[in-house]
């Protein structure tokens, strides 16, 4: 019997990522892409219209199902209600075997709520999925903050999987049939949106080619200034480790590299005064070259870098600026 999978996401990249994972699970998988309209717009995924969402999953999904979340502002609980309606027996011939989403605040709410509503099991941080010999869905994910990679077997159906964000290849642009499924409503009291204040995005850690990050090796908040010339000389983006953003709050969270911040894909990642706790290392796995400046030979970053300058960052950083200026 074919595996039936519902895919949905907060944005088009995510929708493609979830659909690619679903299509890759089994050749005969039936993949249904869920689109939620709410507040007079396409809410999940954020798209100009349903046609745009359908184009993204061309060749990947068998059908696009569209639910109407009503006039109010969009919410994760309404999205969860749509997922539950789609995955339950009412949405198709058999209940869905899996629901795939991609991590984002509203997607987390939708996943957690849908898992309960469907009496399902849920797994987060999924990098990849497969099927074991017994037909159970398996999930590959980082465990304990990235100490190891784990394989989870999910013994309940549907399995609600929240994937890590990643780029998926584009669909083939072929047309996917669209089915309108009508109105869904959340069972819980609504959260009222009072207002939105856009956050000016000044930082692009995920897309930066060079990232220079600072950690607890810095003695004071003002000392962040000593790496700024290095950041400028390299044309880099400035990042930081967890204590700097979450404990000391010397830099905003948008500069946090690691498990609870951003994962980088840079050509060069330069860790300045960062010991390299596992949550941080998890966020730099995608860097091509990792260099570090550290005075502690036992720091975990030493075993997890390509180049390690052993020394005092307060002396090495200015020397690096001079070396780059002199040779550039």
């Amino acid at each position: 019997m074919a595996v039936r999978i519902i895919v949905s996401a907060a944005d088009l990249d995510g929708l493609r990522r979830a659909a690619v994972a679903a299509r890759g699970l089994a050749d005969d998988a039936r993949v249904e892409a869920l689109v939620l309209r709410a507040g007079g717009a396409v809410y999940a995924p954020r798209a100009a219209d349903v046609a745009e969402a359908a184009a993204v999953v061309g060749g990947l999904a068998d059908v696009v199902v569209v639910y109407d979340g009503g006039e109010g502002p969009p919410q994760g609980d309404v999205w969860a209600a749509a997922l539950a309606a789609a995955a339950g027996p009412a949405g198709g011939e058999t209940p869905a075997d899996a629901v795939f989403l991609v991590d984002a605040p509203a997607a987390r709410e939708a996943a957690g709520r849908a898992a309960v509503a469907l009496d399902a099991a849920a797994a987060s941080m999924c990098d990849a999925v497969g099927l074991d010999a017994g037909g159970r869905l398996t999930v590959e994910r980082a465990v304990y903050g990235g100490v190891a990679n784990g394989t989870l077997a999910i013994g309940k159906s549907p399995a609600v999987c929240l994937f890590t964000p990643a780029q998926g290849e584009a669909g083939d642009g072929s047309s996917v049939p669209v089915e309108e499924r009508g109105r869904v409503e959340a069972a819980t009291p609504a959260v009222e949106v009072v207002g939105d204040e856009p956050v000016e995005k000044t930082v692009d850690l995920a897309g930066a080619r060079i990232v220079v990050s600072v950690g607890r090796g810095l003695a004071a908040a003002d000392d962040v200034a000593i790496v700024e010339p290095l950041v400028a000389a390299l044309g880099a983006e400035l990042g930081c480790s967890r204590p700097i953003a979450e404990d000391f709050k010397w830099l905003p969270k948008e500069r946090l590299v690691g498990l609870t911040g951003t994962s980088v894909t840079a050509d060069l990642y330069l860790a300045v005064g960062i010991s390299g706790q596992v949550q941080h290392l998890t966020g730099i796995k995608g860097a091509r070259i990792v260099a570090a400046v550290n005075n502690d030979p036992r720091a975990p970053i030493v075993r997890n870098a390509d180049y390690v300058v052993r020394g005092d960052l307060y002396k090495v950083v200015p020397a690096l600026v001079a070396a780059l200026g002199g040779g550039a």
Binding site: D103, G155, D196, L268
Partner: protein
């Protein structure tokens, strides 16, 4: 106002190592603590208590005897009563199961206005328990919250959604997941922890909540860790030592050879 904070006892995540030879995650004998993210939730609750009149804070923790010290630490941060749910073992990889145990406990206590959680826990990092809890309790979810202003019948909050700071108003009661950027949690002193008298700790068995471990496992537990592998990326590990200027020149030369400068 009554606030219930769900706090988790975890092994210190900075001390966990993977034993590549045995293929095991070393969790035994490690220092334990309140999960960092739940400390943010506790701090947020204590700040509300300090600012308002007549705010009562209960802490919920799943565990047994080993968790008692951690629960006392949580209470010492400024809560009134700590509830230890004995036998309600929490699998870090099955957030729905955790949420079912916590939801039953929340229902069992005096009605709460706010049920507060960390955005994630420092073991599973799932981030799904607050939403699952909200669904089980049929309450709104306010997450990820960076500011909280409760009134008599509503909670106004600011959420950090990455590209936008959203102000929302939710009716009480509701579930809140606190973003770690909201505050810097206080550290209770050893004396404050010692002063937490045993009458401020209440032990609840699963049977007190109308739950059984067997039934939970059979009907709820759905996620099982079946294998582990090293998560480390192989790196070159070239160490450069010497005077700062020499080191800098050597690193720049090395990076140019790699083609990344």
């Amino acid at each position: 106002m009554r606030i219930v904070v769900c706090a988790k006892h975890v092994a210190d995540s900075t001390e966990i190592r993977y034993d590549e030879e045995k293929g095991e995650i070393g969790l035994r004998g490690l220092p334990t603590k309140i999960s960092d993210y739940e400390r943010n939730a506790l701090e947020a609750a204590v700040v509300l208590k300090e600012a308002g009149e007549d705010v009562e804070i209960d802490v919920l923790m799943v565990g047994g005897e080993p968790q008692l010290k951690t629960l006392k630490e949580a209470v010492a941060m400024g809560a009134d009563t700590g509830y230890l749910i004995e036998g309600g073992w929490e699998d870090p990889f099955d957030p729905v199961r955790s949420a079912r145990v916590l939801a039953r406990a929340v229902e069992e206590l005096e009605p709460a206005d706010l049920v507060m959680c960390g955005l994630v826990s420092e073991d599973g990092y799932n981030g799904l328990t607050p939403a699952a809890l909200a669904e089980l309790l049929e309450l709104p979810l306010v997450a990820p919250a960076v500011e909280l202003s409760p009134s008599d019948d509503a909670l106004e909050a600011v959420l950090d959604l990455g590209d936008v700071l959203r102000t929302v108003r939710a009716p009480l009661p509701c579930v809140v997941a606190v973003d770690s950027s909201m505050n810097v949690p206080r550290l209770p002193t050893v004396l404050q922890v010692m002063k937490v008298k045993s009458d401020r700790i209440v032990k609840l068995g699963l049977s007190d909540l109308g739950l059984s471990a067997v039934a939970l496992d059979e009907s709820v537990a759905g996620v099982e860790l079946v294998g582990t592998a090293s998560g480390a990326v192989q790196r070159k590990g070239t160490v450069i030592e010497g005077a700062p200027e020499e080191c800098a020149a050597a690193l720049v030369a090395g990076l140019r050879d790699e083609g990344v400068l």
